[in-house]
C-alpha cells in the first residue's frame, strides 16, 4: 500500500514495516471482500431466507459451514446477504454525512458572519447529546427501516463533519493561493469549486474512512435495537438481536455476525489510519 520511501528514517525495524504493510494490505483486502459481498452477494452464497425447520439451530456442519439459525436458515448465506444493509447503514451514512457536512461547513466558513454563526451554533446543539440519541430521535420521527436508519446515522454524524470542514475551509481561505485567485479576479463560485473545495475534501475523505468504524457500530446498534431493516431481512446487528434470544440453545449463532461487524470495523479503521499516515507523511502507527 504505502511506498517504503514514505516511512521515516531507520526508527522502525525493517520487519515491522513489512508487518505493518501486510496488515494494511490484509485489511484492505478484507474490506474489499465485504464491499464485493454487499454489491453482489450472489457470488458467495444463495438463499438467505430459505427456511428448513428440520435443521434449526445447528452448529457448523458440512453444507452449513457456519451453522443454521432458529428457522434453519444458513448463517453464512445470511451473513453474506447481510453485508449490503449493514454497509448501507454504516458506510452509506458516512458518505451522506460527509456530503451534507461539507455543504454545511463550507456555508459556515464562507457564508458570512451571521450564517456562519447560526450554522455552527446549530452544530453545537446537535453535538451536545450523544450521536445514538440523535439517531433515536430521527427514527422516532421517521419510523424504523433501512433508509431511515441511514438517515438517522447521517444526521448524527453530519455536524461533526461540518465542524472539521469549516475549520479546514477557514485555513484554506486564508492561504496565499486563494488570495492570489481572488486578486486574479476569478469568480467566487470558481474559487469555491476549483480552489477551496478540493483542498478541503482530502482531509475529509480520510476523516470519513476513519469514521466508518464508528458509523458501522452506531448503525449496527440501531439495527440491534430493531430500528433498522425489519425481519426477515438479514442484517448483522439484527442477526445478533435474534441470536441473543437463542443463547441457551446455540452460542455460535451469536459468534459470526458479531465477528463480521468487528472485522469490518477493524479493517476500515486500519485502512483509514494508513491513508491518514500517508497523507500526513508519517509512518503507519
Amino acid at each position: 500500500m504505502t511506498a517504503p520511501a514514505s516511512y521515516g528514517p531507520a526508527a522502525l525495524p525493517r520487519l515491522r514495516v513489512g508487518a505493518a504493510q501486510a496488515g494494511v494490505a490484509l485489511a484492505a483486502a478484507f474490506f474489499a471482500l465485504v464491499c464485493l459481498a454487499a454489491l453482489a452477494p450472489g457470488l458467495f452464497a444463495h438463499g438467505p431466507d430459505q427456511v428448513n425447520p428440520a435443521l434449526a439451530l445447528r452448529d457448523p456442519m458440512p453444507g452449513h459451514p457456519l451453522g443454521t439459525d432458529q428457522l434453519g436458515r444458513d448463517v453464512l448465506a445470511r451473513l453474506v446477504f447481510g453485508a449490503r444493509p449493514s454497509l448501507l447503514v454504516g458506510v452509506g451514512s458516512t458518505l451522506l454525512a460527509g456530503l451534507a457536512g461539507s455543504a454545511w461547513g463550507l456555508l459556515a466558513a464562507l457564508g458570512g458572519r451571521l450564517v456562519g454563526e447560526a450554522a455552527m451554533r446549530l452544530a453545537d446543539v446537535l453535538l451536545s447529546f450523544p450521536a445514538i440519541l440523535m439517531a433515536l430521535l430521527v427514527v422516532a420521527v421517521l419510523g424504523p427501516g433501512t433508509r431511515n436508519a441511514v438517515l438517522a446515522i447521517t444526521v448524527a454524524l453530519a455536524p461533526g463533519f461540518a465542524r472539521v470542514v469549516r475549520a479546514q475551509a477557514l485555513v484554506v481561505r486564508g492561504s496565499a493561493y486563494v488570495r492570489a485567485a481572488v486578486n486574479l479576479g476569478l469568480t467566487p463560485g470558481r474559487i469555491l469549486l476549483r480552489h477551496i473545495a478540493p483542498n478541503v475534501v482530502a482531509p475529509l475523505l480520510i476523516l470519513a474512512t476513519i469514521n466508518v468504524g464508528t458509523a458501522l457500530i452506531a448503525g449496527a446498534s440501531l439495527c440491534f435495537l430493531g430500528l433498522g431493516p425489519q425481519p426477515p431481512a438479514p442484517e448483522w446487528g439484527a442477526m445478533l438481536a435474534q441470536a441473543r434470544d437463542y443463547l441457551d440453545a446455540s452460542w455460535t449463532l451469536a459468534l459470526f455476525p458479531g465477528a463480521a461487524i468487528t472485522l469490518t470495523v477493524m479493517s476500515a479503521t486500519v485502512v483509514g489510519r494508513a491513508l491518514q499516515a500517508r497523507y500526513e507523511g508519517r509512518e503507519a502507527g
Binding site: D124, I132, F224, R244, T262
Partner: protein, 312 residues
C-alpha cells in the same frame, strides 16, 4: 477570580442555549411525524380510535392551537420541569424517568469506574515497555473495534449460560451489574488506556521524572505518584466523550441484559413514537452532558495550574 466567573457565565448561557435547541428539536420532531398527532397519541395510525376519543385527546394536548402557540406552551411547561405525560404508559414522564434513572446511573457509574481503573492499570503496566505495549495495543484495538452489545452477548453466553456465575436476566443485586458494566467498560477502557499511556510516556521523558529517579524513587512510585498526574489532563479531555459513550452504551446494553433503565424506556418510546418520553430523555441528557462538561472545565484548572494561568 473574575475571568473564571465570566467563563462560567458564558458556559451557563451556552448550556441554556443548548437546552433550548434540544427542546426545539424534539418539538420539531413531534410535529414532523406524518399523520394526525391525535391518532399517534391514541396508539398509532392503525389503531381505530373513535372521533370522540380523538377530540378528547386534541383538547387534552392543546392540539387545536396554532403550532406557534403550542410551541410556547411546550416551552413554558418545560421551564416548570413539566415534561408532560407518556402516551404509552399514561403516567407523567418525570416520574417514569425518576424511577428508571437509578438503574441507569448505577450501570453507567460502575462502567465508568471499571473503565478508568482498567485503563490506568493497563497504562501504568505497559508505558515505556515496548513488548508489553505492543500486546496491549492489539488488545486495545480489538476492544475499541468491538460493538459493546456483542461483548455483552458473548459475556452472557460464557458466564451466564455456560458457567452460570451470573444471573441471565434482571437487575437484582450487585452480581447482575457485573457483566453489563464490563460490556460497557471494555471499549471505553481501550481508548482511555491508549491516551493515558501516551500521556504517561510523555511525562516519563520530562526532567521531573529524571529528578525523581535521581532522588532514588522506585520506578513504580515515579509512575503512580508523579507521571500519572500529568497523564490525567488528556484523559480528562476525553471524559466528555466517555460520558457520551456511556449514555449511548446504556441504551444498547440494557437491551442486551434485559435490564430496567432509561435506555430501555427510550427505545420503547422510539418504537411507539412516545414523544413526551423521547423529549424528556433528550433534554435530560443534553442537560447532564452540558453540566458535566462545565464541571470538567473547572477541573482542568485544579489538575493543571498552567491552564488556570493561561486562562487568566
Amino acid at each position: 477570580m473574575a475571568p473564571l466567573a465570566i467563563r462560567l457565565a458564558r458556559r451557563l448561557a451556552l448550556t441554556l442555549f443548548v437546552l433550548w435547541g434540544a427542546a426545539t428539536l424534539a418539538f420539531a420532531g413531534m410535529r414532523l411525524v406524518p399523520g394526525d398527532p391525535a391518532r399517534i397519541i391514541a396508539g398509532g395510525v392503525q389503531a381505530n380510535a373513535t372521533p370522540e376519543v380523538l377530540d378528547a385527546i386534541r383538547d387534552q394536548y392543546g392540539l387545536r392551537e396554532p403550532v406557534g402557540v403550542q410551541y410556547v406552551l411546550f416551552l413554558g411547561r418545560l421551564l416548570r420541569a413539566d415534561l408532560g405525560g407518556s402516551y404509552q404508559l399514561g403516567r407523567p414522564v418525570s416520574s417514569v424517568i425518576g424511577e428508571q434513572l437509578g438503574s441507569t446511573l448505577s450501570l453507567a457509574t460502575g462502567a465508568a469506574v471499571l473503565g478508568f481503573c482498567l485503563a490506568v492499570a493497563l497504562a501504568l503496566l505497559t508505558a515505556g515497555r515496548p513488548r508489553a505495549r505492543a500486546i496491549s495495543r492489539v488488545l486495545e484495538f480489538c476492544s475499541i473495534s468491538t460493538p459493546n452489545f456483542w461483548i455483552g452477548i458473548l459475556l452472557l453466553a460464557a458466564f451466564s449460560f455456560r458457567l452460570r456465575w451470573f444471573p441471565v436476566l434482571g437487575d437484582e443485586g450487585a452480581a447482575a451489574l457485573v457483566l453489563p458494566c464490563a460490556a460497557l467498560a471494555l471499549p471505553i477502557a481501550g481508548v482511555l488506556a491508549q491516551v493515558t499511556r501516551e500521556g504517561l510516556e510523555r511525562a516519563l521523558d520530562q526532567p521531573f521524572a529524571l529528578t525523581a529517579r535521581s532522588r532514588g524513587a522506585t520506578e513504580n512510585r515515579i509512575r503512580a505518584r508523579h507521571a500519572l498526574r500529568h497523564a490525567a489532563l488528556p484523559v480528562l479531555t476525553l471524559s466528555g466523550w466517555v460520558l457520551g459513550e456511556l449514555l449511548a452504551g446504556t441504551v444498547v446494553v440494557e437491551t442486551v441484559f434485559a435490564r430496567q433503565g432509561l435506555g430501555h424506556v427510550v427505545v420503547a418510546a422510539v418504537r411507539g413514537r412516545d414523544f413526551p418520553v423521547v423529549t424528556g430523555v433528550v433534554v435530560l441528557s443534553a442537560l447532564t452532558f452540558s453540566l458535566i462538561n462545565i464541571g470538567l472545565d473547572l477541573l482542568y484548572g485544579l489538575v493543571d495550574p498552567r491552564v488556570r494561568e493561561a486562562a487568566a
